[in-house]
């Protein structure tokens, strides 16, 4: 009984707090980026103003399925977060997250815009680049906690980072791809793209774009929560370490975003796979050798 109550509290907290935290994180992102470039930058709550504006705009609907697919993208994104914050299977979280991304790709493919389909193809390549590492992350957590369930992973005595440093670095690497930050912002970007305008979101407009932005807020909170999972143990103080780690990781990603120019898709693919198989693979191998 007690377990179910905690599950429901976790889901409710995620549903309500994730957009709030997402907006704060996104605002921090834009202000820090501006300061790194020597600009004053937008107000801290600018992402909130953007979303409110988008919901006040007319949407140009280009076909019958587009809106349904974007809404399904939001639903799957939220559903995935609910699985995670209710303490369930992390493997399921990663698979459902991919399904959400597939819905986004279908949205982009459903339109006639060449920019949109180009963005969709690049997003497919991104999935190809980051998916092996997410699987290794889930396996790594299993080897540490002997369970795929998030509620068991957070109840270990030592933080997972001690046994999984390689997996952690690999996960931060693919987080740059997942959050669509430069140098891996191939499919779409918050900054103006020269060669393919807005890519994935090219034909999504007005309030439908608002739904997409909302889903992105949920996604960013979930992705950063997985970073926190590396640090959380059965001691309450570990939540503080997790929050510090999330902040540091986000700052590093912003720094990378501002330093590196966008790369071509093949560089993204081989670099992420090399990181996956050297750091992730070696980490799992050593863990297995040391255990036996």
């Amino acid at each position: 009984m007690n377990e179910i109550v905690i599950m429901i509290i976790g889901i409710a907290a995620y549903l309500i707090l994730a957009p709030v935290i997402g907006i704060l994180v996104s605002g921090y992102d834009r202000v820090v980026t501006a300061r790194m470039q020597g600009r004053v930058g937008p107000p801290f709550l600018q992402p909130l103003y953007d979303i409110i504006k988008l919901f006040n705009k007319e949407a140009t609907i280009v076909n019958k399925v587009q809106t349904a697919l974007v809404v399904a993208f939001l639903i799957f994104q939220v559903f995935t977060g609910c699985i995670f914050f209710s303490g369930s299977d992390i493997l399921l979280v990663f698979f459902a997250l991919t399904l959400a991304d597939v819905l986004l790709i279908l949205t982009a493919c459903s339109t006639n815009s060449p920019y949109s389909s180009m963005g969709a193809q690049r997003e497919l390549l991104s999935i190809m680049a980051y998916e092996p590492m997410t699987l290794l992350t889930a396996i790594g957590f299993y080897m540490v906690a002997h369970s795929f369930n998030v509620k068991d992973i957070i109840c270990t005595d030592t933080p997972a980072i001690i046994k999984l440093p390689g997996i952690f670095i690999g996960y931060v690497f693919i987080l740059v791809i997942k959050l669509r930050k430069s140098p891996f912002d191939l499919s779409t970007s918050h900054h103006a793209h020269q060669e393919m305008v807005k890519g994935l979101t090219q034909d999504i407009s007005g309030n439908v774009l608002g739904v997409f932005e909302l889903a992105e807020l949920y996604a960013s909170v979930l992705n950063m929560a997985v970073v926190g999972l590396f640090f959380i143990t059965n001691k309450p103080i570990s939540i503080l370490w997790a929050l510090i780690a999330i902040n540091v990781v986000y700052f590093v990603i912003l720094l990378i975003d501002n330093i590196f120019p966008r790369v071509k898709w093949d560089v993204m693919l081989w670099s992420s796979w090399i990181v996956t198989f050297t750091l992730g693979g070696a980490n799992l191998f050593l863990l297995d050798v040391l255990k036996s």
Binding site: A34, V40, G41, Q46, D50, I52, E58, V197, T201, S205
Partner: protein
Amino acid sequence: MKISRSPWLLHYDASSCNGCDIEVLAATTPLYDVERFGIINTGNPKHADILVITGGVNAQSANVVKQIYSQMPDPKVVIAAGICACDGGIFKDCYNISGGTDTVIPVDIYVPGCAVRPEALIDGVIKAVALLDQKRKEAVEHASCQVDFSKRPAK
């Protein structure tokens, strides 16, 4: 909440000498930093709220201007930046120039100058966002967003 806090720009060069274009880009640099007002330079007409046109509209760019304008979702505002975009400027009497932007699409804000100063442009954009709020209010009152084609002069 007003929608004017997040205006996204779309910049199109109708036939400019690039003088005004460079000034539009200068407005996004650290010195002027239009993102202070939440303004983002987006390349996508479907995401844009404000259309900034530079240069006089000529025979080739007229259709592009019309198409971009029709792709933008309501409410939207058009700014003619620079004297050429306002009324054709020194190219007014050229055989291929149809004159200012308002000969093709309805223009809301005129920002003169050769080239237009970034300060003047930012001032124009601030006026434009106030107009965005007004258009949104009208749209809510009339329960639909309609383009006022009566503002477009007859060809």
